[in-house]
Symmetry: C2
């Protein structure tokens, strides 16, 4: 299974879209079952237009897809971008783990003590 990394642009859109609990709830619901925008809107204490906007934000991030069925727009969740976002976070974690390994190496390896006195700094 090939998972393509998110670029900065996509990551901006995806994480922004997920940074709202109403939108996260919409994603969860439409991942479980396809729903029209009206059906979704009935589930929240806000206007239809507001829910419509939330769906639009999710659509821009490609977290959901709309498909027309008669006069309804059926919304369903697309798991691909969610998977990519998750992998991006896993990458962060991997970076951290490499650092932990590096520190462990420094602590374990007592013979090569060069470059230990002057730890390099960024900036």
């Amino acid at each position: 299974m090939v998972v393509i990394e998110l670029d900065d642009e996509q990551a901006d859109l995806v994480f922004h879209a997920l940074a709202d609990r109403t939108r996260r709830d919409i994603v969860k619901r439409v991942l479980r079952q396809e729903l029209s925008v009206s059906q979704l809107a009935r589930g929240y204490d806000m206007s239809f237009a507001a829910v419509q906007k939330h769906v639009a934000v999710l659509e821009r991030a490609a977290l959901v897809v709309k498909r027309r069925r008669g006069r309804e727009q059926i919304v369903h969740g697309d798991v691909d971008l969610i998977r990519r976002a998750s992998r991006l976070l896993d990458e962060y974690e991997a970076t951290w783990r490499r650092r932990a390994d590096r520190i462990a190496d420094l602590l374990a390896d007592t013979s090569t003590t060069k470059n230990v006195t002057t730890p390099r700094r960024e900036g």
Copy 2:
């Protein structure tokens, strides 16, 4: 290893914090190596105060932690919240997979055809 789920409040903060590429870059850098706020600031084409605000947003989401060293504030990344956010997305994916399984069951199981004629709708 016990991973506690993010509540709505935390997820709001974490995903919002990650929805900015400068902040994602800061997270990546301080996961790899601890850096003072000044050292971080030198890496971006914006004022020190702007970077300071970004760090504050990350701190509020508990994605980074600050520790004083003399007159410097050393920033380092905390992988815990990243892990939790990743797990939350994995949960979304699992929801989707359960739905896929459910559909597969419906297609495969031709004997129990009850409740198929009236698919339940939300709303």
